[in-house]
Symmetry: C2
Subunit: 373 residues, 2 copies
């Protein structure tokens, strides 16, 4: 069936955490017949209870594709087990690092042509099969990493599954994947954690003076320590290169600050900011178009159920599309500031319409002479 | 009037950018009589047109307090001019650095007792008097920095103004202010810019694989380069100390990565993450309570005007209060993922209610075993 270029109709998912169970649910919704397995029997029972598939129960049904949804350092041993039990099936995994699992699979199964790496880039830390969703991968990237040995039908089976799950597939080598994810994911994680850790020199009153900037920049620092220890351990060289790309400019700036020449400091900081502007331009805008900068309309919103919804309803009445929303709960007070990002041309008319509806709204344009903060 | 412990009733604002004009509007709304001045006549005329006050027009009305709302390095010379023209008025400023302006004022006006520093921490970069708002400072911190020479009535005049503007005042020395803001504001800015700059090694397709994590962590990198060059130049010692507090642990991690021992890497990364967890706990939660972690409900939302509002209205119908919202526009597709943060106990019922309304909603709990991303 796979060889005929059609989607694999029979899938086994090994590991029924959030990602594995979500793959199972999405595949079932797309017409796949799905079996499940997990060393944790409670987790497996829970995945079965949300109708993600049927338990394998020690049997070896004829499946076309096996998804190994286990932590990175467990991938190779599970792939090896599966390969001996399912002698025709293609096998993939869903870990967020690729080169190390690929190397370990090559060690235990040299030139194994039924194996293909994969990484559905599906958002933040989540947990458990009861939170799984068939929509988890919808419109998200799913990076497919063929090995030098992967047979074309195996690659096809994985891209077909990803597409059936609603994801947007991209193919690259495992090394390329790990280098890119080191920049896009592993580096921001480490910076956010280092930034949050640096707050330990402050007391709670001082830290309470922080605004949305610090909160956004450090949000990733809430991530799971054990997971990230494993991810970075599996990708040390690319993470080191990514770290150097920020430690370098920051250390240079530190030297300039210590030297104390105001002209040099100003030039170095402005250069750092301008490089940052160019880097931000690389982050894809909406709909794959070039990114644009939005105007921001800040609105004072009492913290009561439904008030935020009424604000959004009033915004919709103004026929203005909101591109992004941030909610800043002010410390110590029962009010929040909601920032609505909208097109520059729409900002003033939105603020006027909201003002007419009784909201206190302030417009901020994306560039120009900044305020005193 | 000031001496009697009552609010200053007569205010002059010098510099009618967004912050100065917003102070003027807020003070007028609180009953102050307000005069305005600006070397840029167009900007002054605009501030007058939004009814922030009357133009000073070269005269010297009897005012109780003067707010100098100009860039940090212009503060001292304007304060000196004002001090000679208004021989009884107290004088403050609103720059986001404090020690350097205080030092420069001491140089031109030794032991000057009518001067008090101030910093309304009023959000992100904004521009122009036409975007000013009387609500800009509402529930925001306003840090008041008395000098060793400041007379008590001058400090009172500034805290009264801040309170009248709706801000929450905190008093600290200029050096303390600059050390705290270096951690809370200047450091996150430099990290976000360095992180965004590091993306320049990627092409647009690679950068387009980024998720909300990188976008949040690098958002500050859009800030104004000229403003930040001036801020950091005026606060080099505290910014250097703040930079060291992140360069240190990151450089240590880099050494461990280069050494390549998996056990050491895992331990170092887990330590970095756990320090970050503790640092995040210092950021004040809502209403000044201890911070809590929220569950996140992710919902697929078509990108059409009003759809977001309908989602929020449906959320309000479920009688669930939304603590935070993030919108992630998926690259290349006309759909967005909206993440609603709600109390853990409310997440499943919200997801069920939204599901009944036709939305595809996925719950993520704040801790536990993370997914593969």
């Amino acid at each position: 069936m796979v060889g005929a270029g059609e989607p694999a109709a029979r899938l086994l998912v090994v590991g029924t955490g959030l990602i594995g169970t979500s793959v199972a649910l999405a595949a079932r919704a797309a017409g796949y017949e799905v079996w499940l397995d997990d060393v944790d029997h409670d987790r497996l029972r829970l995945a079965v209870s949300v109708e993600a598939g049927r338990a394998r129960d020690g049997e070896s049904p004829a499946v076309d594709l096996v998804v190994v949804a286990v932590p990175p350092f467990a991938v190779a041993s599970v792939v090896s087990d599966i390969a001996s039990q399912f002698v025709h099936a293609n096998i993939t995994h869903v870990a967020s690092v690729q080169a190390e699992p690929e190397r370990q699979v090559e060690t235990v199964l040299p030139r194994f042509d039924r194996f293909v790496g994969g990484h559905p880039v599906a958002g933040r830390e989540r947990s458990g099969p009861h939170h799984a969703s068939a929509d988890l991968f919808r419109e998200r990237p799913w990076i497919v990493c063929a090995t030098p040995s992967s047979r074309p039908t195996a690659v096809r089976a994985v891209t077909d599954l990803a597409t059936a799950c609603g994801a947007v597939t991209t193919e690259m080598t495992a090394a390329h994947h790990d280098a890119v994810l080191a920049r896009l994911s592993h580096l921001p994680q480490l910076l956010a954690s280092a930034l949050a850790g640096s707050l330990l020199g402050l007391d709670r009153g001082e830290a309470g003076l922080a605004g949305t900037g610090l909160r956004d920049t450090s949000r990733l620092a809430d991530s799971d320590a054990t997971l990230w220890a494993e991810i970075v351990t599996a990708n040390p060289v690319a993470v080191a290169a990514a770290l150097r790309s920020v430690i370098g400019p920051l250390t240079e700036l530190l030297g300039v600050l210590d030297a104390g020449d105001p002209g040099d400091i100003g030039r170095d900081v402005a250069d750092l900011l301008r490089r940052g502007h160019r880097g931000r331009q690389l982050l894809a805008g909406k709909h794959g178009q070039r990114p644009v900068q939005w105007a921001s309309v800040a609105v004072v919103v009492p913290d009561e159920p439904g008030r935020l919804a009424r604000l959004l309803a009033d915004t919709a009445d103004a026929a203005v599309n909101v591109e992004d929303i941030r909610v800043d709960h002010s410390p110590g007070q029962p009010l929040g500031i909601v920032e609505l990002d909208v097109a520059v041309a729409a900002a003033d008319s939105l603020a006027t319409a909201l003002g007419a509806g009784g909201w206190a709204a302030t417009v901020s344009m994306p560039s120009g002479v900044p305020g005193a903060d």
